[in-house]
Symmetry: C2
Subunit: 440 residues, 2 copies
Amino acid sequence: MSGVLDESWTWKSWVEAANVAGCGFPLQNLPFCAFRMSDQQPHLGVGIGDRILDLHAASRIGLLKRLPKEVRFACRATYLNDLMECGDAGVARLRRALMAMLAEGADETQKEAVHRSLRAMEGTVFCKPVAIGDYTDFYASIHHATNVGRLFRPDQPLMPNYKWVPIGYHGRASSIVVSGTPVVRPQGQRKLPSAEAPEFGPSRQLDYELELGAYVGEGNALGYPIAIDDAERRIFGYSLVNDWSARDVQAWEYQPLGPFLGKNFATTVSPWVVTSEALAPFRVEMAARAEGDPRPLEYLAATDVQHAGISVQVEVWLSSEAMRAKGMEAVRLCAANARDLYWSFAQMVAHHTSNGCNLETGDLLASGTISGPGDGSRGCLLEMTRRGAEPVRLPTGEVRSFLEDGDEVTLRAFCEREGLPRIGFGECQGRIVPARLPTG
Amino acid sequence: MSGVLDESWTWKSWVEAANVAGCGFPLQNLPFCAFRMSDQQPHLGVGIGDRILDLHAASRIGLLKRLPKEVRFACRATYLNDLMECGDAGVARLRRALMAMLAEGADETQKEAVHRSLRAMEGTVFCKPVAIGDYTDFYASIHHATNVGRLFRPDQPLMPNYKWVPIGYHGRASSIVVSGTPVVRPQGQRKLPSAEAPEFGPSRQLDYELELGAYVGEGNALGYPIAIDDAERRIFGYSLVNDWSARDVQAWEYQPLGPFLGKNFATTVSPWVVTSEALAPFRVEMAARAEGDPRPLEYLAATDVQHAGISVQVEVWLSSEAMRAKGMEAVRLCAANARDLYWSFAQMVAHHTSNGCNLETGDLLASGTISGPGDGSRGCLLEMTRRGAEPVRLPTGEVRSFLEDGDEVTLRAFCEREGLPRIGFGECQGRIVPARLPTG
């Protein structure tokens, strides 16, 4: 977390695409994923340039033989969970070994075996990388909370608890899908303000939410909170998360117990899990806490505030069916930065466990929609279009208040810092398909 | 679901305790559980009288050899999930076979082998019977919703959506524990109305919630809703659920995303899962829907409204440390009936999946606090004491606004009908232990 760079940050890979500026998957990233070739069980892998190193194959052919048995075996699992349970030290050893074999100047005899374990990234079918037991979604962006609050309560956009409590709620784990999975437009109850009764039908206010998620590595036993300064190391790594939302359903159902069917029809995660280690040089002080804001309560007050945040640029890109038919590229709707969150991931972990609640390996904690202070940095359409009042115009002339069938939403993220290779998160993508009627 | 009784409802068991009036575990119940003997893996079992039939042992010694292989193997698992995946027909066959071997007049040679598979129920260490992927808590009691609403919004106790939407939210699966597990008093943020800032410390308003839970047997694929008339058969069975709540934490945190740390420190389930089959004679029309209430929307409108509810008496019993020291029995704080819920479990299933959300085998759907129309039927202390304004007096002279350390809460439930043996749910019990400080 210190931001001090060891020498390995200057290394290059013999996988040449990894060294191309802006690639996002240099030797220093090596994000984890799970993927499927033909009808095999999913294999775990790490991204390097335009390739995936197949960890299952690497383990089978003895490339990992110097690593502890539990790490070698974990590399043959179908989810990352076993590896996450190996702890910081085990994962760091695996990463060192992989870096050594993929770096320029690697042992030539080994290189051939490594080469045989490389797969082309293009065309890969990715799987959900982690078996997620519980999924919690926070509300950590004060800009998002304020923008949304303003739509509903112009006089008091921010709730009185916001600057004290990292607000969160439990999401649905079963409907988390990996990038590329189509999202069926949900049906649900919604009530027009003018209508006497609600009606049931396809949502007319389908939205995306631009989020980062943290996967828990080492959890805690029920009844034993995780202290704030111990929290960051409990996070195995980070991914992109799109918490799709049906705003009309949400608006009608959410009182008094919060979002439910407006959210749980689908949540998309990116295939790649970027390790905390790869993000170390991009730790920064968080930017949203203002002069005069209350000091966090003791259990939320980290010693090292200088590195509590992560500077990750997060973006939303959209293409409509008509755009794709005309060969147009997707347009960027939003660019924000995770350093603008009000609450850090360590604070989320400490808060979540402060009552004794147990986090388990593989649990997902997401940030909630990330918005920045400016107009181009609103992380969902609800905010961006002011609940539909100011629709977005697409290059085709189409307008969008909310998502239409055929729209494809792609989230992207990366870290950049002068003199360092870019650390990319890959993409988190989903296309809206029309609603289905209930089965009879 | 028809309420027509087959002849087996007149049978008796050669396990004599099963035939005692009011026992709750007659031949017709055979609820499932998981239990542990010494340091073995948990075994699955069924309750009969004062005994548990060890399904693992029964399977091993060939007692189940006429059953399909997947059912036999499922009986050797450590959770009920595999059995739940065998479907209605598989479970019904297992129950027939068990009934036949436990009934009076059972084959004498087999009886000895069965006898060897029986364990004493007393002193048994129970385990969580089901691996619960996702846990959803509803708010299905209109009496509870009205009583609680009245405390906060005297003018409009019931939200406008209540009679249209089966309100629910996602709970925390990881912190679900089995009956008998101590409950550590949670710490958390709470703010007195008169205070300028919140403070962090042990909850001063710890409460229980009296609930029934339904375990999902056959789930649905993402994007494919379960139709209302297909919903009941997706429920494998029912249990008692105590959704412990820290009301002070909840009050401060719940806007705008609902309950979170006020709930997720612990949820207790009973060890026993009573099958839908055993409850068939107790199906009734639900009682809470009033003349003039809106007709449920089509996707929530069951064809057979006569049997949409279950007549289950549910109760809360409390003993304090001082009561136990004086040898006093627990006192009953509440007796309510699940037929007084506004929404049926089938409606919860249909609603939950109406947007395409996928339920998975083993998921738990709980009713929310069950309260009846009368004063003696309030299912939590918040309601019963009017948020502490009218404390309850215990036989020792102690008073309770909320739970104190050492208090032991026991939920009980049973079904009764003239001429039939009582079907019991066993107990769902937890004792409050003092808060722990965060680890350093």
